[in-house]
């Protein structure tokens, strides 16, 4: 359905997005993962025709849409990271305006407003001004505004940033509903790994403007198939212990957590003994050790050397 080919964007000689290739099939939910500054928003802006790429192409059903942005604008709905709404207007007035500029009129417009309000669960508060809404409610109207014209593809740029868990769950439910019940394609960017794991069948991982991995969840997890994650809870923090653990041959990565260390280690025998001995050498008591198979978060850490929310 939609394909981005070798997209590149340069600002003042600095390449912020480099050689991005991605595709989205009809009815598919695809995740775009990356830490802040990875280039996700720039990529989305180029795909949605808001930004002209320095090079590369965006194709809709095999046809380039770079020079005819209207073609792609008709079928996409973009949920920006910012609350792109008029604070001094009510939710209803906002939706009425955004629906009108998509040339929706009369009863059709009224019906679409009612449907999207119902979808995001804000029908009863539709006549209140946006500035009186909580962050989560604003985000839900932000999504509703992108759905009025019934797009085939919804591009969501971190739609759950800075909101309460209840609103977050509501938004995730909405996205699921759109994708699974209404058959909308979804391109979902986030730095919350668990959201992408829940919603998306395929994931692209970006860092420093480049795609560093892509595939289904299983394909990505296979990157760390010979490894496991070890979460060690310690009696007190010890930078010296962390240094020593990083130097051990079977440790692929080690990072400090709130109450200990998290290690990604190569699967082999004798690891536990070496970790315990190292702790003793630094007079640190091990309170608890958990060993489990790696998550996508661990894959990301492995690939980039940093956490998603760094």
């Amino acid at each position: 359905m939609l394909e981005a080919m070798e997209l590149r964007k340069t600002f003042k000689g600095k390449t912020v997005v480099d050689n991005i290739n991605l595709y989205i099939e009809q009815g598919e939910a695809v995740g775009l993962l990356g830490p802040n500054g990875a280039g996700k928003s720039t990529t989305i802006s180029m795909i949605s025709s808001l930004l002209y790429p320095s090079s590369g192409d965006v194709r809709l059903d095999g046809r380039s849409v770079l020079k005819t942005p209207g073609d792609i604008r008709r079928i996409i709905g973009v949920v920006p990271q910012e609350i792109a709404l008029y604070e001094k207007l009510s939710a209803y007035e906002n939706l009425r305006f955004f629906g009108s500029i998509y040339k929706l009129k009369g009863k059709h417009l009224t019906d679409r407003i009612a449907n999207t309000l119902e979808l995001v669960g804000l029908t009863e508060r539709q006549h209140e001004l946006i500035r009186t809404y909580s962050g989560g409610m604003k985000r839900r109207i932000n999504i509703a505004a992108a759905l009025l014209h019934e797009p085939k593809l919804v591009i969501m740029d971190e739609p759950t940033v800075g909101i309460d868990p209840q609103s977050r769950n509501h938004i995730l439910d909405t996205v699921r509903k759109l994708n699974r019940e209404k058959g909308m394609s979804v391109l979902y960017t986030s730095h919350y790994m668990e959201e992408v794991e829940q919603l998306c069948s395929r994931v692209y991982i970006m860092d420093h403007g480049r795609l560093i991995a892509s595939g289904t969840k299983e394909e990505l997890l296979r990157i760390l198939s010979g490894e496991e994650t070890m979460i060690v809870q310690l009696s007190k923090p010890s930078p010296e212990l962390l240094m020593e653990l990083r130097g051990l041959p079977f440790v692929r990565s080690a990072e400090e957590t709130e109450d200990g260390v998290k290690l990604i280690v190569t699967k082999q025998s004798g690891i536990l003994t070496e970790v315990v001995q190292a702790a003793e050498r630094h007079h640190v008591q091990i309170v608890q050790i958990q060993v489990h198979t790696p998550s996508l978060e661990d894959v990301f850490l492995h690939l980039t050397g940093r956490k998603l929310r760094d």
Binding site: F11, S45, L50, P69, F97, I101
Partner: protein, 427 residues
């Protein structure tokens, strides 16, 4: 375009408190400045640079001798002849005008050089004088015949100048006032000699414009309230352009503009909506301020329907100009990366053109060079136009000035459409 207009008007309506302040402040300032600076406006400029060349081609003694012959030729009783000649003798207009210019009140700010016609023209061309005041041959006799015999059209004094200016207005005002007083006197004398009683006095007052003399250009003085109501109303209306751009900067900051772009609408709809909203708000603002000031301060009582029509057209065209400026600022803001810097720049620019365009102080207190620039600013131009309309009600002059203001509006709107970014430049 209609959804954009509705949305912008709704957003403005939600800022009712801000709107109220924007409406009240110019009214309050008009009252304060109108009282505080009335001497600046109504007494004219304090410098003594207003100067005129007085060319007297008429000979008053010859005129009176001739008038005597005319009167003596009438087949009337001797007492009537004696009365007319006695009354007419009192009204030596040229001498009276000389005395007016020599009076302490006038000579303080108008210098008069009595000279010949050719010399006066040279002085005018070399800008040594503001105007030439010519009393042509036959003036006195024509004035006397008109006043006492109701014959002819009366005498006409001519004022010649290279360009219109406030100094010229001052000189014209002095002569006009003198002529009116003289006309009233002559009119009364004429009527009282035939009709006894109170009725005569009333009839005499009605004859004021037929007293026997006419000034080519009649001027209505500007009151300080009129000046400041217009200047404050206009400067606060111009500020709407920056407010509109400020609202648009919010749309840019919050990325609402990207949502709008994604709708695939022609960007001119967006600008068109801003233009229409700015026009309507500017029109309402200026109309409200002038209406409120009119009723509160009695700005234009007794003026004709034509005058009000002209004023309405000025307000409409000025609002178009403000709308042009609003969309121009909006497009510039979208081009600039730093939104705060853009908003600061617009406000600074408006304050500068507000000052040099006579928004806060009368135009003539500014240095000549600054005033020349100020009269070319959209608000300065509109203010000058409105003041001239109050004074002269000259439709031809108004039309040419309105045309220029319209050109400003169209140019600004066209420039705005040209520079408005079609696709986002940065993320």
């Amino acid at each position: 375009m209609l959804p954009y207009l509705k949305k912008d008007m709704l957003v403005f309506w939600r800022d009712r408190n801000e709107l109220l302040v924007v409406l009240l402040v110019p009214i309050v300032l008009s009252v304060i400045l109108g009282y505080a600076l009335s001497s600046w406006i109504e007494a004219g400029p304090s410098d003594r640079s207003a100067s005129i060349a007085l060319v007297i081609e008429d000979n008053e003694e010859e005129a009176f001798a001739e008038f005597r012959n005319v009167i003596m030729g009438f087949d009337r009783e001797d007492s009537w002849r004696a009365n007319v000649l006695e009354d007419a003798e009192v009204y030596r207009v040229i001498e009276g005008l000389r005395m007016t210019f020599a009076s302490d009140e006038v000579k303080e700010w108008v210098e008069v050089a009595e000279t010949t016609g050719n010399q006066a023209v040279t002085m005018l061309q070399e800008k040594e004088v503001t105007a030439i005041l010519t009393i042509p041959r036959g003036f006195t006799l024509q004035a006397l015949e008109r006043a006492w015999l109701q014959e002819g059209n009366g005498g006409t004094i001519m004022i010649s100048a290279l360009e219109h200016s406030l100094k010229l207005d001052l000189v014209t005002g002095v002569v006009d006032r003198y002529m009116r007083e003289a006309n009233v006197g002559m009119g009364l004398r004429y009527v009282l000699q035939d009709m006894p009683g109170q009725h005569q006095l009333e009839e005499g007052m009605k004859l004021q414009p037929k007293g026997g003399m006419e000034l080519l250009d009649s001027v209505k003085p500007i009151t300080s309230f009129q000046y400041f109501s217009l200047s404050m109303g206009m400067i606060f209306t111009v500020l709407i352009s920056a407010t509109i751009a400020f609202h648009a900067s919010g749309e840019k900051r919050e990325r609402v503009i990207e949502r709008i772009r994604l709708s695939g609408n022609n960007p001119f709809y967006y600008l068109g909506g801003k233009f229409a909203a700015s026009f309507m708000i500017a029109f309402l603002q200026l109309t409200s301020v002038l209406t409120a000031c009119h009723f509160a301060l009695g700005l234009f009582y007794g003026r004709s329907v034509a005058f009000w029509g002209g004023l309405a057209i000025i307000v409409i065209v000025f609002s178009f100009m403000v709308a042009g400026l609003a969309v121009f600022f909006t497009s510039v803001m979208f081009r600039m990366k730093n939104i705060d810097a853009a908003n600061a720049l617009f406000n600074l620019l408006l304050i500068i053109i507000g000052v040099i365009g006579g928004g806060f102080v009368p135009l003539y207190v500014l240095p000549e060079w600054l005033r020349s620039i100020g009269e070319w600013t959209p608000n300065g131009h509109a203010l000058t136009m409105a003041l001239q309309w109050i004074q002269y009600e000259d439709g031809g002059q108004l039309a040419s000035k309105l045309l220029l203001l319209m050109v400003y509006a169209i140019l600004l709107a066209a420039l705005s459409a040209w520079i408005y970014p079609r696709r986002g430049r940065a993320v």
